[in-house]
Symmetry: C2
Subunit: 329 residues, 2 copies
């Protein structure tokens, strides 16, 4: 049986309510007694009973994270960041890999103070609610929860803008054209609009469908592109994995990045620097995403507002070593 404050009270010769106050550093108890109680508690190896604290305080100091698509490894950095960010607030994070509805059920029972959802939500038809604030990342739950989103179109605009400033005219977009993926679609549209805006030539070969998000998909798409008649001077990769494939395919063809061809990737994650060629990329830095998600969640937690906020984050371009100025005019 675990040690309780009553055990400590008995051992220290005081009442258990005094022990409670002492351990919570209340000013209502004499420094001397406080010190003694702390000592006894430490010696007896006291661990507060979380269930009891929760029952009376109605707070668990825990945030639940719902991540049913474990396989999407792109999120793993974000998860780690979120964990840190939540820890900073003195809270703990627990993770559930179940679908949103049953995860929320679990979290209700665990009495988390708030939750974060990664799930795209396309699979759940019935409206679900939670008795605590929920922030979702990515689209899908707009009707139910607050949302942190990314301005993908702006991201592609920045990529194209940057490349045209370096003198590039012939730019190819490599991404997954699956109609189900709204993020990919937005990137596609953003690229197209940017090309039009800068009066850059757009034709069939300006868009290459990787037909998948894994890096072998980007790899194969790039091989196909390089076998074609005309080679662009720059490529925009629509995700980290796809861009990694692009890099490998290009290097295997004995072309040099960025001398022969420039690349801008999407996703502003640290891994971009550890590719064979550190990749210049656009995207919202994960630290920022994590910080925004957590701060929105805690704001809702403090103000106790059930209001549903949507916030679109602006991407930034991070220069690394994969783009060069085009010399021939």
């Amino acid at each position: 049986m675990a040690i309780t404050i009553k055990d400590i009270a008995r051992a220290a010769g005081v009442s258990y309510s005094t022990v409670s106050k002492a351990l919570n550093d209340s000013p209502l108890v004499q420094p001397k007694t406080k010190e003694k109680i702390h000592q006894v508690a430490r010696k007896m190896g006291y661990e507060p009973n979380f269930a009891a604290q929760q029952l009376v305080s109605k707070q668990s100091k825990t945030i639940g994270l719902i991540w049913p698509t474990l396989e999407r490894t792109a999120y793993s950095t974000l998860v780690t960041q979120l964990n840190n960010e939540i820890k900073k607030q003195g809270f703990s994070m627990i993770l559930s890999v179940n679908p949103a509805d049953s995860s929320l059920e679990l979290f209700k029972r665990c009495h988390v103070d708030g939750a974060i959802i990664f799930d795209e939500g396309n699979s759940v038809p019935s409206p679900i609610t939670a008795p605590f604030p929920v922030v979702s990342y990515g689209a899908g739950w707009q009707d139910h929860f607050s949302l942190i989103d990314v301005n993908y179109q702006a991201a592609m605009f920045k990529a194209v803008d940057y490349l045209q400033q370096l003198g590039h005219h012939s730019i190819t977009f490599i991404g997954d054209f699956s109609p189900l993926d709204s993020h990919q679609k937005e990137k596609y549209i953003g690229f197209q609009q940017a090309m039009n805006h800068f009066n850059l030539p757009v034709h069939q070969q300006s868009f290459i469908n990787s037909a998948g998000l894994e890096w072998y998909d980007g790899y194969q798409a790039t091989k196909r592109m390089l076998q074609g008649s005309s080679r662009p001077s720059a490529v925009v990769g629509a995700s980290y994995d796809i861009s990694a494939g692009v890099v490998r395919a290009i290097r295997e063809t004995n072309l040099i990045i960025p001398k022969d061809i420039s690349i801008v990737g999407y996703d502003n994650i640290p891994q971009m620097s550890t590719l064979e060629v550190p990749l210049t990329s656009v995207g919202v830095p994960v630290e920022l995403i994590a910080e925004q998600i957590v701060s929105l969640l805690f704001k809702q937690l403090e103000t106790d507002s059930a209001e549903q906020v949507t916030k679109k984050l602006e991407p930034v371009l991070t220069e690394r070593n994969s783009c060069a100025r085009v010399n021939n005019p």
Copy 2:
């Protein structure tokens, strides 16, 4: 404020203790009243307070999983399986991505009934304990917790045995030779012993160091191998990712699997079937690993024994479509 059994009692015109019994399907309450109480509870949207239940029952019906190395994606299938297996027992799983010691701290506060650790544990010097049973997967915590391990040597033996039965003599092992990775080392040794056992020729080129666990590592290692003078008739890949790289490198060289070259991969995970070529592989099926971890944990939970058990699982070979009989004698 959430609905409690007292609210239900008032609404149904009975005492709250009767409500408690009715909701727990106790035989001490009349079926008729039971039915009525259930109806009222449902209508009022009652959700039991977990903290209160926990406080009195001393059970949380929750298992904690510690997985600090989120980046190791090979575990993700296992995590999903564990989740299912735990759900089957009527328990829930929560996940922590913090290091083992602070995760256990969190789990103590959440009052989980048991925990599973993936962490290799090479980073934690101080002995740590937990007030609940803990099962670890992979090596490292032998001194503290029960362990589910895999007989990697037997796995390699089975791979070689299978290939030699098909008539292969020239077999190459591709894996990571990092001295830090005890699993990889065991596979290496197992392969070597098996080759000796069957009197198969072993030379320098029989072992190729991928110097990494990602599939590009296996890819490059294979390319190097294929550029060499003599080509083996079969390859053993030391992990899923490495084997995936092997497959891609071989196919790009316009060799046909398994006509020109046979492959056996390590890791018996479903993804093996979805590679370009469904890969014959050795390893303990993830479902079995998950089942073993969970059943060991629950056995300890039931018997309340702090005894530290170690169990080594025997791998099996699953035939798919990557191996062929060698015709020339």
